[in-house]
Amino acid sequence: MREFSQISSNWRSAETAQLYLNRHKIPAIWDIDTRALVRHIRKVGALRGVVATDGTPADQLVFEAKQIPTMAGQELAGRVSCKKSYSWDKGSIELATAPWTEQMGAAVPAGETRKHRVVAYDYGIKQNILRMLVDHQCEVMVVPAKTSAEEVLAMGGDGVFLSNGPGDPEPINYAVENIRKLLGKTPIFGICLGHQLCGLALGGKTYKLKFGHHGSNHPVKNLLTGKVEITAQNHGFVVDPESLPSSDVEITHVNLNDGTNEGMRHKSLPLFSVQYHPEASPGPHDSHYLFQDFVKMMNEHRQ
């Protein structure tokens, strides 16, 4: 950040961002020329980095940064995934509710409207995806990344969700294998890393972007409707649309800034996925319809 506000001013605020970060031991960098940093990354591409405040000389820090392995080729999803499965029942946070607590987001009462049971693979899943699935009347069971397809199918859900997650999709062979096994047997919806894994499972390839897509203002065109949605994104790798078998796969979304792939669906089987974050919060709500599409797909598959 260029400047980090020392106070907070909002009726829902319980503490300042600084205290919150302290409590969670998350470092923040501020009072730097952020534009200089962005321009540097734009020119040379994404970099490994070290944050230091102890006065270590710069060349030593550069040396240390170079020792950090690059993201490409690392299997990170398994490391950040939950160790045990758990169920999730909290919906989105209502703005009208106060005061704010971290546990907020009331559980949606179970009722007859609760129709779909979704098994969500956790490759580093964002809570808001779970909240939005609950908002869309889904019962959610979150499972570790390495849970086998057989186990998932045995759970008897109405659909499978493939989550976002860190790093390079290629080394996550087990996930690709599982998706291949699940394909056609249950509706599948993937976001971000989940989308890339689908790409690989369908026979495509992925590659690393120079500096990735980050931020909440990426225009994505939905090729099925011709409409543009403003999306939040955070990824370094993308699916190469040329590598996908056009007989099976239809490209559904494309990024208008650089033309890279942002979404696809299987032409005959119940699978679709997007590269960006329709659930993002912070972020625009333009792509919330994808959750409805998922529910619709589950409805159709059940019939």
Binding site: W11, D33, K227, L256
Partner: protein
């Protein structure tokens, strides 16, 4: 979707004269729309009554009509041009209202003109407050409770229902005109009557108040395929209750969480869809209750607006240009973003800096006007500043206003007064907040009194803490870190120098020693994510400089800063023209300005744009970075001129006329000697610093005298004094006001005719650009006087003398570029009143009238070209070259903001008070005058009753006027003395009571619409209550009111022409080629 091919010719309506609430931002938007549609291959027809605009440059549209913006004239233009479509969304409320009128009266249908950009239904839903509220409620959005009323009785009944305070908003007015807040029944009664009067449909909304809530605006766009983007979010520093045009505003919104912001974004999208704005830009205003986050929708504008101009400048996203393309069926995803070139316009700009807009008010021009800020906009202009933090942007914004010196509350202000100053919003509130923080008033209390968000108050506390630390050292002992931190917070050298009791130069030197210098960052719409191809820059104190100056021949042009009375759009027009001309000649042009409403701050007007304050420090920093061959200071009005000498001292080469010549012309004594040498008469004059001296000087000169301070623009604080006491008081006042600058005392030439001359010179040759005869006699400020080109009543000998004097002056002052001379002709003697070796307010008007772009020519002269090589259409008169005039008259008339300042007298005097101007053209002088009057909102009647009341001086001349008016078929009413004077000339009139003579008196008659024209010439500056109330009533009831006999004569000519010639329209392109106006309607009738 590709652009439409079924339409070929598009009519664009401009916004007319500059008025409060509708300023040059619509020149910016209209000019962008013209350029965009032309670039897409459409034929563009433009109509706007304001000649001082870039959009009315004959090159911009295919056909340009400088005609009154009324239904009648629009129909004539439509009948003549037969456009396929009408784009009403880039000309402010004026264009929108006119489009509605054209549509509802069936004219669009008759000529098969399609409205594009906004449908009639969308305009009506958005503009009709009740429909709009229903639309919002349908979407489940909250709106303040309210009801629409069309009479005072119903309105009063509402009060009990809704509870005070109440907001009163007249329907279909702009800038919140006629709106107010009432806290009790008494206030309400007056407020509702005023509001109903102001509304063209006699309707007003009475609304539950959300006073003190946080106020936000979203600038949004939508295209035919329903793509929707938010261009910019804007947060008002001042909470609800202060018109957004009068609020300090900040972009992006600073105190919203993402959840709240996204809810607002979703609401804006739903509203624009529900209202039915299919394409283009809109803005939606929201209020948020800080206590519980409750959000209500306040209003929306289905068109580009002042805020969208601000948003365009704040983000680099050209809303109007894109809106025009969307109107012809293109979609956001197929239009490229100019700045990144590689990405499309369908995105939401990211802002990695903070933008602060601060309004500029001029209450000093309107004694008696209430300076409390409320729901009706009162500011005349604005500045915008860009910094990397709110603190930096705020301080840059404050110093962009002029005067730029930091304001401090008088030390002895008691806390009770301070609290009142915080609680009641007025122009200086920000300074009182600074004072309160400095004094240690708890921030909770400041927030409570001002209702300003605690975050903003905290920022000001941080600034104050910074200043306190800075104040504890001296310029010598300040560390590099401290100096850098102060600069990073936006402190100016001048401010630091004041704190350190030294000079700004000493602070500058210290900065140089420590290498604490600003860098320039780019406004790139994307927070550096993509490469930017438009060098649109702002300064800040950071590590990396992104300006990448080029090593090519280049010229820097200093703009004119915030719009104000006397220094407005005309100067921006000149700066733009300088840039256009020099670009054409192969120079790289660099524009510096801080006014977001302007065309000059459009990123494609110049090669490079620096959005920076126009102070010595900021200009020098840019100069040092760019190292241009020269700097142009003579086009931006007084603001850059005031910097000229200091810039030159700092080694900056000033192009054109030397600053010393400019200084000489401003220095009464030296200039007087020069005039003596040149054998050019001037009114007797002198200067005085103290009252005793003033009395002596006035005695020597002979009364009446004109007194004024030195170095001013727009006749600020000028007074005509008929007695010595007034002179002495004035000088005593002036001495209190500021540093010892002498007061100027001039002989006042009564009953003289004033003439304005604009001339071009290259150091050896001189060309007269235009000679304009004022219609009001001397004594009315030249900016407030109507004038005509070519002159109508001057003898050839007088004109020859004027030409000769002008040439002599230009050569003596070694003018290179433009020069303006004001003359007064009294009893066949030509006196020089004033010489300004710089661009004047009349340049655009003269350029439109003659077809020769004087500012462009002047810029080329300044860059070294010679008049002899310019191929100008010249006529030589006894060795003096003059730009050839055409066979038509062009009358310029001023437009005043009196309807915004209730209780202010409308009498014209030496202090300029008009905000804008219009032009009327015709082969007959009378019709040109009538058209100018109509365009200025004074609709001269063709029949009915005229009221006359003239002063004793005018009584001897009123006979012929009365005769002419009676011959035209008018019934005449007159006060006793005037009636007697008329009778003496054999003119019959009916005598009416003055206010104090009984009832019904003249004001009663005005109020009951029994009068169609008021001719009322006042006695002196000190007018009677009677006269004042007549003129005020005329303004209020929208009856044309003429205050000089000369203008009344012109009006009688105009009325005759209207009756005989009917409605005439002509395109500027035709006029300049000698093709004259065609009459399009029957010669009589309405």
């Amino acid at each position: 979707m590709p652009k439409r091919t079924d339409i070929k010719k598009i009519l664009i309506i401009g916004s007319g004269p500059i008025i409060i609430g509708q300023a040059c931002e619509f020149d910016y938007s209209g000019a962008q729309a013209c350029k965009a549609l032309r670039a897409e291959g459409y034929e563009v027809v433009l109509v706007n009554s304001n000649p001082a605009t870039i959009m009315t440059d004959p090159e911009l549209a295919h056909r340009t009509y400088i005609e009154p913006l009324t239904k009648e004239y629009l129909e004539a233009i439509i009948a003549r041009e037969r456009p396929d479509a009408l784009l009403p969304t880039v000309g402010g409320q004026t264009a929108l209202n006119l489009a509605v009128e054209l549509s509802e009266s069936g004219i669009l249908e008759k000529y098969k003109v399609e409205m594009i950009g906004a449908s009639l239904r969308a305009i009506k839903v958005a503009e009709d407050r009740l429909w709009f509220k229903d639309a919002c409620k349908k979407l489940g959005l909250e709106v303040p409770n309210s009801a629409l009323v069309n009479n005072a009785q119903d309105a009063l009944r509402l009060c009990d229902q809704l509870g005070f305070p109440l907001v009163i908003r007249p329907s279909f007015t702009m800038g919140g005109a006629g709106g107010s807040i009432a806290y009790n029944k008494e206030e309400f009664g007056e407020a509702i009557n005023h509001a109903l009067d102001m509304s063209p449909v006699h309707e007003a909304l009475v609304e539950e108040s959300v006073l003190g809530w946080k106020e936000y605006e979203l600038e949004v766009m939508r295209d035919k395929k329903d793509n929707f983007v938010v261009i910019c979010s804007i947060e008002n520093f001042d909470p609800m209750g202060v018109h957004t045009g009068d609020s300090i505003t900040v972009a992006p919104a600073q105190t919203l969480t993402d959840k709240e912001y996204q809810r607002m974004r979703d609401a804006a999208a739903a509203i624009i869809r529900e209202v039915g704005v299919e394409t283009g830009g809109s803005n939606v205003q929201f209020a948020v209750n800080p206590e519980n986050g409750k959000m209500t929708v306040i209003e929306m504008n289905p068109r580009v607006s002042r805020s969208s101009a601000l948003a365009s400048k704040a983000t680099g996203f050209p809303i109007a240009k894109i809106a025009a393309r969307l109107a012809v069926g293109m979609t956001l995803d197929e239009i490229p973003n100019d700045i990144t070139q590689k990405t499309p316009a369908c995105f939401e700009p990211t802002i990695d800096y903070v933008v602060v807009k601060i309004p500029k008010w001029q209450f000093e021009k309107f004694p008696g006007a209430d300076s409390t800020l409320g729901t009706q906009m009162k500011s005349v202009g604005e500045v915008m500043a860009i910094g990397r933090t709110f603190k930096e942007a705020l301080q840059k914004g404050i110093r962009s206003l002029e005067p730029s010196t930091p304001w401090r509350a008088p030390l002895e202000t008691p806390d009770s007064l301070l609290r009142e100053k915080l609680a009641t919003p007025r122009p200086d509130r920000i300074h009182w907040i600074l004072t309160a923080v400095e004094r240690g008033l708890p921030s909770e209390e400041i927030c409570d009194l001002t209702k300003i968000d605690p975050w903003f108050i905290h920022q000001i506390e941080e600034l104050t803490a910074m200043n306190r630390r800075a104040a504890s050292v001296t310029v010598e002992t300040a560390s590099k870190d401290l100096l850098r931190e102060a600069k990073r917070n936006g402190a100016s050298d001048e401010h630091l120098a004041q704190m350190w009791k030294t000079t700004p130069a000493a602070v500058r030197l210290q900065r140089a020693r420590y290498a604490v210098a600003p860098v320039f960052k780019r406004v790139d719409t994307c927070a550096a994510e993509f490469e930017s191809f438009t060098p649109y820059m702002y300064s800040t104190y950071e590590d990396e400089d992104e300006s990448e100056p080029r090593n090519v021949p280049k010229v820097m042009i200093l703009g004119s800063g915030p719009n104000r009375i006397g220094q407005g759009i005309e100067f921006d027009y000149c700066c733009c023209h300088a840039s256009f001309a020099l670009r054409e000649d192969g120079f790289e042009t660099i524009m510096v300005n801080c006014n977001p409403e302007t065309v000059s701050t459009d990123y494609d007007t110049s090669d490079r744009l620096y959005f920076e304050p126009l102070t010595l420090e900021d200009v020098l920093a840019i100069f040092e970075k760019e190292k241009p061959q020269g700097v142009i200071v003579q086009f931006g009005g007084q603001t850059p001129l005031n910097l000229a000498l200091e810039l030159k001292r700092n080694g900056v080469p000033i192009l054109g006329t030397a600053p010393e010549s400019i200084d000489l012309a401003e220095d009464r004594r030296r200039f007087g000697r020069l005039l003596d040498e040149l054998k050019i008469p001037q009114p007797r004059n002198g200067t005085a610093l103290i009252p005793e001296e003033a009395a002596r000087v006035a005695g020597e000169i002979g009364l009446p005298v004109l007194v004024r301070p030195s170095y001013v623009l727009g006749g600020r604080a000028m007074v005509i004094a008929y007695d010595v006491n007034t002179v002495q008081e004035y000088v005593a006042q002036a001495a209190l006001m500021g540093p010892a600058k002498p007061v100027l005392i001039d002989q006042f030439l009564e009953e003289a005719t004033e003439v304005d001359v604009d001339a071009l010179a290259d150091g050896t040759d001189v060309v007269i650009g235009g000679i304009m005869e004022h219609i009001e006699e001397a004594g009315v400020h030249s900016g407030d006087s109507s004038c005509v080109l070519p002159p109508v009543s001057l003898s050839p000998q007088i004109i020859a003398t004027i030409r000769e004097y002008t040439k002599r002056l230009a050569i003596a002052l070694k003018v290179v570029g433009l020069m303006n001379v004001q003359y007064a002709i009294q009893r066949d003697t030509v006196y020089v009143l004033e010489v300004n070796p710089r661009a004047s307010r009349t340049i655009p008007y003269v350029s439109k009238a003659t077809g020769v772009p004087l500012a462009k020519v002047a810029a080329r002269l300044m860059a070294g070209k010679k008049l002899a090589n310019m191929n100008l259409p010249l006529v030589r008169h006894n060795g003096v070259a003059e730009i050839a005039v055409h066979d038509f008259y062009a009358v310029k008339s001023p437009v005043f903001p009196f309807n915004k300042f209730r209780g202010v007298d409308t009498i014209l005097g030496p202090e300029m008070r008009s905000t804008g101007e219009v032009m009327g053209t015709s082969t007959s002088y009378g019709l040109a005058f009538a058209k100018a009057q109509l365009a200025a909102g004074q609709k001269l009647p063709r029949s009915g009753t005229i009221f006359l009341s003239v002063n004793d001086r005018d009584k001897k001349h009123v006979g012929p006027l009365g005769k002419e008016l009676a011959a035209l078929g008018f019934k005449l009413l007159a006060t006793r003395g005037t009636a007697a004077a008329l009778e003496a000339s054999g003119v019959e009139s009916e005598e009416v009571f003055k206010v104090n003579e009984g009832r019904p008196n003249i004001v009663d008659l005005v109020k009951t619409a029994k009068i169609d024209l008021v001719i009322n010439t006042p006695l002196g500056r000190e007018s009677f209550y009677d006269e004042k109330s007549i003129r005020r009533a005329a303004i209020r009831y929208n009856i044309p009111c003429i205050t000089t006999l000369a203008a009344a004569h012109a009006a009688s000519l105009g009325i005759r022409a209207l009756l005989e010639q009917g409605t005439e329209v002509a395109a500027l392109q035709d006029l300049h080629q000698g093709k004259l106006a065609a009459s399009n309607s029957p010669k009589s009738g309405d």
